[in-house]
């Protein structure tokens, strides 16, 4: 019995030790992600590129293959499709050994919160080099500058306008509008033929038409909202919401709960126009649609014709390296390479999108014209609301705009709700 007891004891101890060691080494799985590789290694590493654009994995892989050829480092995408899960992972990675080499993020308050933690690698030298070579413009620099230093590089840029179904426009004799009155005539014509003029959604992109109307009528107030110097209850904001409410009641938009993809709706002609960023071109070509033949793109005219320049919403998403990236040197080198014409031609060209690098050719002629005009200062570029609004205000606003779409007459209640969140934020921020 004594011998059996000792054996049992030994067996139990061994089992416990094995389980504990297995539990303690659970992070060993990260070795498969390359996260535990020594920092000292440089050159030829496979860099894990975590991103919230899971649908773009093929495009990332194409650029990754080119990177392997040109700089020796492959870019291996790890794509997420759920934004919230992705953000939670990136934040958690700061406290664990499973860290991305490169990762996508958002400019504005979200980038600042990471920089404030010292989590993002400084890319000031990369920026200066790229600007010197003409790969980036000074115009983009403020979006990536925090406390005088640059962090991350542009993953993409996008100009927001209106995609429209050319067949529907041709059928009813419509042309892209030059003025707001032209645009109103388009809406009236489409409604009279029982065609839903514009797409809208109550999830995530509920802010789109708000920013468009306010930026097109009073861009100064729009910009002042982002810094807390204007209130959501100020007259220009209320007027924009009143206008939007009338359009909702007129039937200018799709049902906001529609779950069919906007590219499918636009392709079928179920909706005539979709107000989105130029990245939507990727979705349309993915549907087999031909730009210039099946669909087109126009810059939405200002509501207020007395404004000197047409307001055009602009967004840019960053590609970043963690300051504690497993292969920091390679990651910084990859970011520098990312901006080159070769890399950008592959990246933007494969998606039929525009590029942050003015030297990269743009395959779509309409988007090329818009990009050229934007680069020459023809438009008043407006920071997209998603990046411009402080995160707590944005969360409240997305819900409020979504509720407004269902009950357009509640615009004042919704603006008060957003202002309440803004008051709380700016009180704590100041």
């Amino acid at each position: 019995m004594r011998v059996r007891g000792r054996r049992s004891l030994l067996g139990a101890a061994l089992a416990a030790a094995l389980l504990v060691s297995a539990a303690c080494s659970s992070s060993g799985g990260s070795a498969n992600h390359g996260a535990l590789s020594p920092k000292s290694k440089t050159g030829g590493e496979t860099l894990k590129l975590y991103n919230d654009k899971g649908a773009w994995s093929d495009y990332f892989k194409q650029v990754g293959a080119l990177a392997k050829q040109q700089i020796g480092s492959n870019l291996d995408p790890v794509g997420y499709t759920d934004e919230n899960t992705y953000q939670a992972f990136i934040k958690a990675s700061l406290r664990t050994k499973v860290k991305p080499d490169l990762f996508t993020w958002a400019t504005g308050g979200q980038l600042k919160s990471l920089v404030d933690q010292g989590a993002v690698a400084d890319t000031s030298k990369v920026w200066q080099d790229a600007i010197d070579k003409g790969y980036l413009t000074r115009q983009l620099e403020p979006y990536y500058t925090i406390n005088g230093k640059q962090y991350c590089v542009p993953l993409n840029v996008a100009y927001w306008g209106m995609f429209y179904n050319k067949h529907v426009f041709d059928q009813y004799g419509l042309q892209p509008p030059k003025t707001w009155d032209d645009f109103q005539n388009i809406l009236t014509t489409l409604r009279s033929h029982n065609v839903t003029p514009m797409y809208q959604t109550s999830t995530l992109f509920s802010f789109v038409w708000f920013e468009q109307l306010l930026a097109g009528s009073d861009p100064d107030t729009y910009n002042a909202l982002a810094t807390g110097k204007a209130k959501y209850t100020d007259k220009p904001v209320v007027d924009a919401m009143k206008m939007w409410a009338q359009e909702e009641k007129d039937g200018d938009f799709t049902d906001p709960s529609v779950k069919t993809q906007p590219q499918a709706l636009l392709k079928s002609g179920a909706v005539a126009m979709v107000p989105f960023g130029t990245w939507f071109n990727t979705s349309m070509t993915g549907e087999g649609e031909k730009p210039g033949t099946d669909y087109g793109f126009f810059v939405i005219p200002n509501v207020n014709p007395s404004l000197a320049k047409t307001s055009m919403v602009f967004e840019t998403g960053p590609l970043c390296a963690l300051s504690s990236a497993p292969h920091l040197q390679d990651s910084i080198s990859a970011l520098s390479w990312w901006l080159t014409p070769d890399a950008q031609s592959k990246w933007a060209g494969s998606r039929d999108d525009v590029s942050a690098n003015p030297k990269a050719p743009i395959t779509d002629s309409t988007l090329a014209e818009v990009t050229k005009a934007a680069g020459s200062g023809q438009y008043n570029l407006i920071n997209r609301y998603f990046e411009a609004a402080p995160p707590p205000v944005l969360t409240a606003a997305l819900d409020a705009f979504s509720a407004f779409m269902v009950h357009p007459d509640s615009y004042m209640d919704q603006l008060n709700t957003i202002q309440k969140a803004a008051d709380q934020y700016w009180a704590s921020a100041n």
Partner: protein
């Protein structure tokens, strides 16, 4: 019984061996070593996250840096939240709806089919949806419930009202149709549980009731239903807990919107934690939700399974 009674004195009079103190210590250590893996796993995977969540609920934390202690502020904020009434009433609708529909229909399906020769075939369609995840069910029902979706089209085709109604837009219709979607999935497993209860029911009271002339509804009302009470209590108890934490169907179909109109407490917890990045506030909602679920289920089960109300088989 005789054998057991005879064995008793033998067990009681078995001579107790004197135990050496060192041996007892060794036995104790051995016992702890045996259970330590399980204890460690439970502590690491269940207790530690719960304790951490409770701690976070007293802090302000956005997932970056270190949490800062703010006492009870998250809890007071919760009770002053403008949408508290909406989320609580939606959650109560889910609790009520889940008890009435999936449990009620599950009982109906089990009762109607359990003596049928082709009962298993009849129950099969109700069981298959249970194999699908909640998110999958929501995706399928999204095609049915969306504007110009399958349900709208059917209603329009049949010239019935509702063909142009946006089912996911307006409160409380959006919550009601999502409860229906969850019912589609939940009926089968409840029917299965009730079937187990029906099949393990003693024959004697059923035969006696038949001899007394009971049949159909009177048999169900006066014999089967009372005999099923303990099982019903468990099924309803499980449903209460499941409905209080309703998340997947709502998140996939409406994300709690539009404008938080279909939000439940579990969706509030997720939204505040991962969308608004207020991990502290989200943790407070999680703690409150846990307390509500624990109190509701324990109170209900204690009431229903107390010896006075229990029906002996």
């Amino acid at each position: 019984m005789t054998q057991l009674a005879d064995a008793g004195p033998t067990l009681r009079t078995a001579p107790a061996k004197p135990t050496h103190p060192g041996r007892r210590l060794l036995d104790g250590v051995q016992a702890w070593l045996y259970i330590s893996p399980a204890v460690l796993l439970v502590a690491a995977l269940l207790y530690a996250p719960f304790v951490w969540t409770v701690y976070l609920s007293f802090t302000r934390y956005d997932g970056l840096g270190n949490p800062s202690w703010i006492g009870l502020k998250n809890y007071t904020t919760f009770f002053h939240d403008d949408v508290l009434w909406v989320t609580v009433s939606n959650t109560l609708m889910w609790v009520g709806g889940t008890i009435v529909l999936p449990v009620g229909l599950g009982l109906f399906v089990a009762t109607v089919t359990y003596r049928s020769k082709r009962g298993s075939l009849l129950r099969l369609p109700f069981l298959i949806p249970y194999a699908i995840s909640g998110a999958g069910v929501a995706v399928v029902w999204g095609f049915i419930l969306q504007p110009h979706g399958a349900l709208n089209d059917i209603l329009s085709f049949l010239h019935l009202p509702g063909g142009h109604t946006s089912l996911l837009l307006y409160r409380p219709v959006n919550t009601i149709v999502m409860i229906v979607a969850a019912t589609w999935q939940g009926v089968g497993v409840n029917a299965l549980l009730f079937l187990v209860g029906l099949q393990s029911m003693p024959e004697a009271p059923l035969e006696a009731a038949k001899l007394d002339g009971a049949s159909g509804w009177s048999m169900f009302r006066h014999i089967i239903w009372p005999l099923l009470r303990p099982l019903t209590a468990v099924v309803v108890g499980l449903s209460i807990v499941a409905s209080l934490k309703t998340f997947d169907v709502v998140w996939v179909l409406t994300q709690g919107g539009p404008g938080r109109s279909s939000e439940t407490l579990a969706v509030t917890m997720y939204r505040d934690t991962f969308v608004a990045n207020e991990y502290g506030y989200g943790s407070a909602v999680a703690v409150l939700l846990t307390l509500i679920a624990a109190v509701a289920s324990v109170t209900y089960l204690r009431t229903q399974l107390s010896s006075k109300r229990n029906v002996s088989w």
